[in-house]
């Protein structure tokens, strides 16, 4: 196993894969709402599932589940282990 880390979009993670958020490029309102729901840089997220045709992503953040629209999820960059 190599421990090289790569930075990808949250939407690039496959179901069941996790990553550490390194940056979120959203509007101020969206950023604040995400942060209030526990999603900010440094948080670990795991992709649970997504719908057909690149739909929203269901993720797990510290034991809670959250759904994020695809457009916003594409702006969240994570560092994959």
């Amino acid at each position: 196993m190599s421990d090289r880390k790569s930075i990808v979009c949250l939407t690039d993670l496959r179901d069941g894969e996790s990553g550490n958020i390194v940056s979120i490029a959203g509007g101020k309102g969206a950023l604040k709402r995400l942060a209030d729901l526990g999603l900010s840089t440094g948080t670990w997220v795991t992709v649970v599932s997504r719908t057909l045709f690149n739909g929203p992503v269901q993720i797990e953040v510290c034991g809670s589940r959250l759904v994020i629209g695809q457009g916003l999820a594409a702006k969240i960059m994570v560092e994959q282990k």
Binding site: R33, G38, G71
Partner: protein, 643 residues
């Protein structure tokens, strides 16, 4: 007993934490529901008599539930600061501890007396989590009680603790954040002393750093230098943290919440995957999820429609004999006929409310309480985005199939005004149960079932196109879906009953006055003998353009009251329900198309008026009338080629 002891308690918490179960358990039947001053957001109050205390309980709006908007957050903190409740019960979902603690930290910043109800304690244990209330109490410095609100367990000890602590309330320290943030806060604190504002100074400083527009405006009037300072400090913090200062503190809160959760929760690593988790995976799966959704929604609509037709038939017979009794005992003169039309309007409303809307709401709230509605929003988000709104809008559509009135009301769950309005307009185009009566009673019965289903598909296409157009016309950025996914839980009959009753009552309150008034007015026009004149005025449209019999002009006017009146009155006029003897298939389809789109019914118009103002309501009506006439005329010409 020592009478006259009073306590004021407010309930606060994130959505889906079980706040309404707590409220219902504490207040039982002593509830009063109104609106927050100047807002369309519901205000629930109740009273509890306990150990000689008269305890007023207020349910503050939930934050980050399916029904989210920032107004609710503002209402919550304004109430806590201005009304100063004796205690705030923060209902916390133990199964989603970390996320809920973020809100708890925000509440603690308000520096009011707080008690934590760690709710759903049993479910947390089932998830393999053991939570230490003692440690949490020590970290936060406020009392913490484990509760299971759905069974009422732990709630009396919450009240006991409030009564006990109230006498010896000790000030707790609000949560503290990173060093550089704390130094920024204390620099601002010095500039904000003695402003005469009711807010805690530290809270004001935090809001200034967060660039809260309301608070910045208030402070700019009193201490402009503090706002300037906050901007400068914010810039400095941005350099350190690398992102906008408005979210630095949110970031800090979520890190602190994560740390607290790590300190107080122990996870059982050897846990089997429960049935619930399997269900979770199946219902959101990219293939089985859609299949299950179609089955559930299809089953729901079929049940409502079948049950509704049966119940409606029973009520029909009942009201028919009531009409005969009225004619016998009151008479059939003009005054008696006007009186009857008022009574009939009320009966007609009941005939929609009880057979169709009541069962619909019960099923809907079972799905909601179970946690399924959020799954629908998830599955439908991508599709709804093509109409410029996100997945939650789908819920309003589903409700709209039952009745447009609650459908339009439910658009409050959309975050921005733009989204709310687009969703409401699209909901008015959704064929409700009354329109379904026309589609199936006319087209389905006499032209063919596939034509009826075709009309439904046609309506969906029209809604889709209208959505695309309106999202292009109404400027503004589409909002992305951000929605907590609740865990599945066993629906609570009590919660479902309370929600159903609230929704039904709102429907009747809004719809009743306008339905009665317009029922009487139209009957007066009828009695005055102006109907033939009106139908001949309308005949260029109805006869020449749409190719319908001239009587339809009158039918369409009555149809504004309730769409299915079009069919009911047509039967009365013909003296038979054998519509095929007077209408050709293309006339039936044309009439159905007009009925589907030509105007929302009065009850729906009154909701549009109330929520978006009369100008927008009128504009929607005029546009839809024009649209339906053009559309049905084109449809007629195309149908002439087919038949």
């Amino acid at each position: 007993m020592n009478n006259g002891k009073k306590l004021n308690i407010a309930l606060a918490g994130q959505g889906n934490a079980g706040k309404s179960s707590v409220f219902n358990f504490l207040t039982g039947l002593h509830q009063h529901i109104g609106n927050w001053a100047g807002k369309t957001i519901e205000k629930r109050e109740g009273t509890l008599f306990y150990k000689g205390y008269t305890i007023d309980v207020l349910d503050l709006p939930g934050i980050y539930s399916l029904t989210t908007f920032s107004v609710e957050e503002q209402i919550a903190h304004e109430h806590i600061i201005r009304q100063k409740p004796d205690y705030v019960i923060n209902v916390v979902d133990s199964t989603n501890l970390e996320r809920n603690l973020i809100f708890t930290l925000q509440l603690l910043e308000l520096e009011c007396p707080i008690i934590l109800a760690l709710n759903r304690f049993d479910l947390a244990a089932k998830k393999g989590m053991s939570v230490s209330t003692k440690k949490l109490q020590k970290i936060l410095g406020v009392p913490v009680v484990a509760t299971i609100a759905s069974r009422g367990s732990g709630l009396t000890s919450v009240i006991d603790r409030i009564i006990e602590h109230r006498e010896k309330y000790t000030y707790y320290k609000p949560p503290s954040y990173g060093k550089e943030i704390e130094s920024a806060i204390s620099e601002l604190n010095e500039l904000l002393n003695n402003t005469g504002l009711p807010y805690p100074v530290r809270w004001l400083s935090i809001k200034l750093i967060e660039k809260d527009p309301e608070i910045s405006k208030i402070i700019a009037e009193k201490r402009p230098e503090a706002v300037e300072k906050a901007v400068a400090l914010g810039k400095k913090l941005e350099e350190i943290h690398g992102h906008d200062s408005s979210i630095i503190i949110s970031d800090e809160r979520s890190h602190l919440a994560a740390q607290i959760t790590r300190d107080i929760v122990r996870l059982d690593p050897l846990r089997k995957i429960s049935l619930k988790e399997k269900l979770e995976a199946l219902t959101t799966h990219k293939f089985s999820g859609y299949l299950i959704m179609i089955l559930i929604l299809g089953g729901m609509f079929l049940t409502v429609f079948k049950l509704g037709n049966w119940l409606s038939g029973i009520l029909d017979t009942l009201f028919g004999s009531l009409h005969l009794w009225w004619n016998d005992s009151v008479g059939t003169g003009a005054a008696a006929a006007l009186g009857w039309s008022a009574v009939e309007s009320v009966l007609a409303l009941m005939q929609i409310a009880f057979p169709y809307i009541l069962p619909f709401y019960i099923l809907l709230y079972i799905l909601e309480d179970w946690g399924y509605i959020a799954r629908i929003s998830f599955l439908m988000d991508k599709f709804m985005h093509k109409m410029g709104i996100h997945g939650k809008g789908c819920i309003s559509f589903i409700i709209g199939f039952g009745c447009n009135v609650p459908g339009c009301l439910s658009c409050r769950i959309m975050e921005s005004r733009r989204e709310r309005f687009i969703t409401a307009v699209l909901v008015t185009l959704v064929p409700c149960s009354a329109v379904s009566v026309i589609i199936f009673g006319l087209v389905g019965k006499y032209v063919g079932l596939w034509w009826a289903f075709g009309l439904y598909a046609f309506a969906l296409i029209i809604i889709f196109i209208a959505g695309k157009l309106s999202s292009k016309l109404l400027l503004g950025e589409p909002v992305e879906l951000i929605m907590p996914m609740p865990d599945y839980k066993t629906p609570s009959p009590k919660t479902i009953m309370v929600q159903t009753w609230d929704a039904l009552r709102e429907f009747i309150y809004i719809a009743a006055p306008i339905v009665i008034i317009s029922g009487v007015v139209i009957q007066a026009i009828n009695l005055a003998g102006w109907m033939p004149a009106i139908s001949s005025i309308l005949s260029p449209v109805t006869v020449t353009w749409l190719g319908l019999p001239s009587i339809t002009g009158i039918l369409l006017i009555f149809g504004i009251l309730r769409k299915e009146l079009i069919l009911v009155m047509l039967a009365a006029y013909l003296g038979t329900t054998e519509f095929a003897t007077v209408l050709s298939p293309q006339q039936m389809i044309t009439l159905a198309v007009v009925s589907m789109f030509y105007v929302p019914c009065v009850a729906t118009i009154s909701v549009l008026w109330k929520e978006y103002g009369w100008k927008k309501a009128l504009a929607v009506c005029l546009l839809e009338i024009l649209f339906a006439i053009v559309l049905a005329g084109i449809a007629k010409r195309l149908l002439d080629l087919v038949f």
